[in-house]
């Protein structure tokens, strides 16, 4: 017969052993890092770039992390279910890459305080809930400079999805870039009211081309606009990814999103226990925005100019939205000598001078 004290000892030893085993697993087993994507990964576009980032991070932290992703998750009740399941299944970090996941992620983050949640393009945060985004407009500005130099008709076409601040920043930065080298250039905008409708995007591009545009660009998710430009022998500025395989002659350059370094850093911080609620808004100097290699059609002097301006943006001496910024109605938004604040950028709801189209009425 065992003494009760003996039994207690055994129990304590067992518990200790189990505890040790558990902590050993936690220290040695790679952490699970999870991603939620809005669309299928495909081979170009928004989600594709995030997935490249995921793979880069996996490589950089080899042995320390394993990753998994759920693609094509709609911005609705489904998103909450997916995020909750990932948190429950032992993910240390959950990255969600679309604006509409914000409220669902906030809700789930409160229920899983030990999991770190990171949300791209949103604005809500919490103790274990951070946000990240990239200054897409810096790339847009440089692409606008190239477009302004390359256009002969001085009409530039822009196919865009929805008039939200992020898209308006892009259109305005592109216009300011083009007008900085070609004050006669004007930008015409067509809204497709859809992130993803290749047929409509193509028709919009063809419409702009038939109205005189000889450079087109898009803020939508398919390669249809670059492809349409290629077929009509016009130029295009790509977006999201390097789209040159869809328009080898047409693409002048492209604004590329590069998330790998950010994912590596944020994940390492979480694993090291040094992560704090972050609001990362990185640009060219952080390597989160890059230009695709300039097309063969771009002459050497324009290439040199773009390289110089890129250096200035990285150094912080060139700000695409440095004053004076004047809107379409002639109202000064940012006076000369001042810069637009991040808050003002996030609330952008106007076109600058040089955009020929009008915003849809509210």
């Amino acid at each position: 017969m065992l003494h009760w004290r003996g039994m207690l000892k055994i129990a304590a030893a067992l518990a200790g052993a189990m505890g040790f085993a558990a902590s050993a697993i936690a220290a040695d087993a790679p952490a699970s890092i999870c991603f939620v994507y809005i669309s299928p990964i495909g081979d170009s576009g928004w989600t594709y770039q995030h997935d490249l980032g995921r793979k880069e991070m996996e490589k950089a932290l080899a042995g320390k992390v394993t990753t998994k992703y759920v693609e094509n998750v709609a911005e609705g009740a489904d998103a909450e279910r997916v995020i909750r399941e990932l948190a429950q299944s032992g993910c240390r970090v959950v990255y969600a890459t679309s604006f509409g996941y914000m409220n669902y992620m906030e809700k789930v983050s409160k229920q899983f305080p030990k999991v770190t949640f990171m949300h791209a393009t949103g604005y809500k945060t919490g103790p274990n809930f951070g946000i990240y985004n990239a200054r897409f407009y810096e790339g847009r500005y440089l692409n606008g400079v190239i477009a302004g130099k390359m256009t002969k008709s001085n009409v530039i076409g822009y196919v865009a999805a929805f008039p939200i601040p992020e898209v308006l920043q892009g259109i305005n930065a592109y216009t300011l870039g083009a007008r900085s080298v070609n004050p006669k250039a004007e930008v015409r905008v067509i809204w497709t009211n859809s992130w993803y409708d290749p047929g409509k995007e193509r028709e919009a591009a063809n419409t702009l081309i038939s109205q005189g545009a000889d450079v087109v660009t898009n803020h939508t998710d398919s390669p249809a606009v670059v492809q349409a430009a290629e077929e009509k022998g016009k130029y295009a500025s790509g977006y999201h990814s390097d789209m040159s395989k869809y328009g080898p002659k047409a693409q002048l350059s492209s604004t590329m999103h590069v998330w790998g370094d950010f994912y590596t850093k944020a994940t390492s911080d979480v694993l090291a226990g040094t992560w704090k609620t972050t609001n990362v808004w990185g640009g060219m100097k952080d390597g989160m925005i890059k230009l695709a290699p300039l097309g063969a059609a771009v002459p050497a002097d324009v290439k040199a100019l773009v390289a110089k301006l890129e250096g200035e943006i990285k150094a912080g001496t060139l700000q695409p939205f440095a004053g004076p910024v004047i809107n379409q109605d002639g109202k000064t938004i940012v006076p000369a000598g001042k810069n637009m604040t991040d808050e003002e950028l996030g609330k952008m709801d106007y076109f600058v001078q040089g955009v020929a189209s009008k915003l849809p009425k509210k």
Partner: protein, 310 residues
Amino acid sequence: MQDSIFTAILVATVVAGTPLIIAALGELVTEKSGVLNLGAEGMMAVGAIAGFAAAHHSGSAIVGTLAGMAAGALMALIFAVLTLTLLANQVASGLALSIFGVGLSAFIGKPYESITLPAAATLRIPLLADIPVLGPVLFNQQALVYVSWALYAAIVWFLYRSRPGLVLRAIGESPASAHSIGYPVIRIRYFAAMFGGAMAGMGGAFLSVFYTPLWVEGMVAGRGWIALALVVFATWRPTRVLFGAYLFGGVMIAQLFVQGSGAEIEIPSQFLSSLPYLATIIVLVVISRNVNTIRLNSPASLGQPYRPDA
């Protein structure tokens, strides 16, 4: 300049209307036989990927179009077995076919995502294409645009001028009567459903092989649903389908041109996007107001399962 923009709008309208015409004419024939197949979106999606894959491997747009038709017909065959032989509910089966088709096309399409096809050249008809305005609009288009007109003519002739067409319509009105005088109701409905599938598949192949020569998931983008709405909007008449398709296509294109011209837009473009559906609901309400107009327009046995007694 004004003139050339007008021409450009008309040219684009014809192109945008073509997939709608092809898919809607197919659905029209199916519905005329009394079968309601709501799976057009799915059949178009599968037709699009099958057409794209075949065109890519064979290098021929014709092979691509035929493959799209075959794939669409195969999808319709699944639907026909479920609803005509196993007597499953047509509405539910059709909706399921749509969802299934969109998913299946995405699954098959994975390896084809980075590929583009060479743009198919337009088929220019000598002399006629030189007529101002009408020339480029009617006589310098993609091959399938001409095919859509030929199909329209053939379907009008078939439904209203040929004996098999009369039988098909009789089956749509009263399968029991047609059966009692010896017509194979189920077999003919099989043909009608598969014809509709083949046409939806061709419409899908037009999108992926001619319109935007690339494959991306979800590229049908609701055109199957518009085709379905179009059949109701046209009150089951082929000529109205033709004009309805150009009307729906034209609204979309004109809207883009208005935006691009920088003109002040008073009508939100979201409203214009919803117009086809609104117009369809209005037509439905109008024809449903009295019993006679329904009887005159929609096939009487539409959507009802039929089990021959003997």
